[in-house]
């Protein structure tokens, strides 16, 4: 098994092109997934490519429409940057601890594609996209198409994600709730992101994303658009209908973290709470 340490992007893409590798960014997920005994090397089952030292991918920048976050930018720098969307800051603030956030990356959280990955819930709601590059070119894929299932992403063997692209937007109301045994440092049992925009009493935008209630994050644009255009009174009168719309979409995969009925109830209550507080 080989390991490569890339110091620049071209170098990384060349390695990926000639040798199949798993990518290691901060390694906070990879080391646990490949844990071996104390004193032994990490038990990777494949070749690995370390990308964390690629300085040119360590950035947060913006233009008039988008925010761009590079693949080696650490969660803590994203949390501290004033360009970062407030909802994303709220989420990262509750992810892990400073020690983990100093090494873990946002793109590692995306590529890990856990249904409980906290940032993914927010990035779905923000209509984020990822840029995937290989030696021959690049493509930009909406996040909800990129994540195909539990730990399954649409990434070719010679590609890596180089950045996440977030459209800029103003919202009048934002909410993030994470239901977990301990707030940070714990994988969510359930998470919720709500974003909406109201102008002159009219609902102009509504986005609801739910984490850890299905194999991927749940977001449904058909339901959202049914209620966009209503005034606040109508929106509130429709809360029960909205909950009915979401109910069938909440189908948690089995695990021991909490039972399905509990998660469903919590998810619906969080949606209700968000809309009641408008």
């Amino acid at each position: 098994m080989k390991s490569y340490i890339a110091k620049n992007l071209v170098n990384a893409l060349e390695v990926l092109n000639k040798d199949e590798c798993e990518i290691v960014a901060g390694g906070t997920d990879m080391l646990i997934q490949n844990r071996s005994h104390t004193g032994m090397s990490i038990g990777y089952k494949t070749n690995v490519l370390y990308i964390s030292l690629i300085k040119e991918l360590d950035y947060i920048k913006e233009d008039s429409h988008y925010i761009y976050i590079g693949a080696t930018t650490k969660l803590e720098s994203i949390l501290k940057n004033k360009i970062t969307p407030i909802i994303l800051k709220k989420i990262i603030h509750e992810m892990a601890s400073p020690a983990i956030r100093h090494t873990a990356t946002l793109i590692g959280n995306i590529a890990n594609a856990s249904p409980a990955g906290d940032s993914i819930v927010g990035l779905y709601a923000l209509n984020a996209k990822v840029r995937c590059q290989c030696i021959n070119g690049e493509r930009i894929v909406p996040l909800h198409k990129f994540i195909r299932g539990v730990r399954i992403i649409d990434l070719k063997f010679n590609e890596m994600i180089t950045e996440v692209i977030i459209p800029k937007n103003d919202f009048s109301s934002i909410a993030f709730k994470k239901v977990a045994p301990r707030k940070s440092d714990a994988i969510s049992k359930m998470s919720f992101v709500g974003l909406l925009k109201i102008e002159d009493d009219l609902l102009l935008d509504l986005r609801i994303a739910l984490g850890a209630v299905y194999i991927t994050v749940v977001r449904n644009k058909d339901i959202e658009s049914k209620y966009i255009g209503k005034n606040i009174k109508e929106l509130k009168e429709n809360i029960d209908n909205i909950l009915k719309d979401y109910e069938p979409l909440i189908k948690p995969i089995d695990d021991q973290r909490s039972n399905k009925e509990y998660r469903k109830k919590v998810a619906l209550n969080l949606i209700k709470d968000f809309l009641l507080n408008v």
Binding site: S3, I5, G27, T38, I100, H102
Partner: protein, 157 residues
């Protein structure tokens, strides 16, 4: 085998070793620095904390490959600084040490926090120490210790 260069406690080091080793193992085995300890081995407890470029990281969760060219300080290296002495005195004064297993990690977390935010409030201290577990003190005395250090060491950070 790969050549990995880094600065450890102020000294330049060059190792020819497996880059897939954990930083914690390299620090403890190759340099006999036993201040950083293995608690959980999973990034949850902070007993293995060191400073990477001045910021706290869990050395059990860092592959050696990721520190090539970087600056590492362990509690042993940090103990020769003025900041260390202020923090140490504050922990002793406040009663923030019992069995001592978590203490090197707590001191590293305190340094990382104060270097960024010299006058944290209680909430900010809790966040700063949120990755460090202590089975003995119940945390209140540790929070008090950090406040004391911040006051006694005013101007150092």
């Amino acid at each position: 085998m790969t050549e990995i260069k880094f600065t450890l406690n102020g000294k330049k080091q060059i190792l020819n070793t497996d880059p897939n080793r954990r930083l914690l193992d390299v620090i403890r085995e190759d340099f006999q620095l036993t201040g950083p300890k293995e608690g959980c081995g999973e990034g949850e407890c902070g007993a293995c904390a060191v400073l990477l470029n001045g910021q706290i990281v869990n050395s059990c969760s860092v592959p050696l490959a990721n520190v090539d060219g970087q600056d590492i300080v362990t509690i042993e290296g940090f103990s020769s600084t003025k900041q260390y002495h202020v923090i140490k005195e504050a922990f002793a004064k406040a009663g923030g040490v019992q069995c001592g297993f978590c203490t090197p990690g707590m001191i590293i977390a305190t340094q990382s926090l104060l270097s960024e935010n010299p006058h944290p409030d209680d909430y900010e201290i809790k966040i700063g120490l949120s990755g460090n577990l202590c089975r003995c003190t119940g945390y209140n005395l540790i929070i008090k210790a950090v406040k004391t250090a911040s006051k006694d060491g005013d101007g150092l950070w």
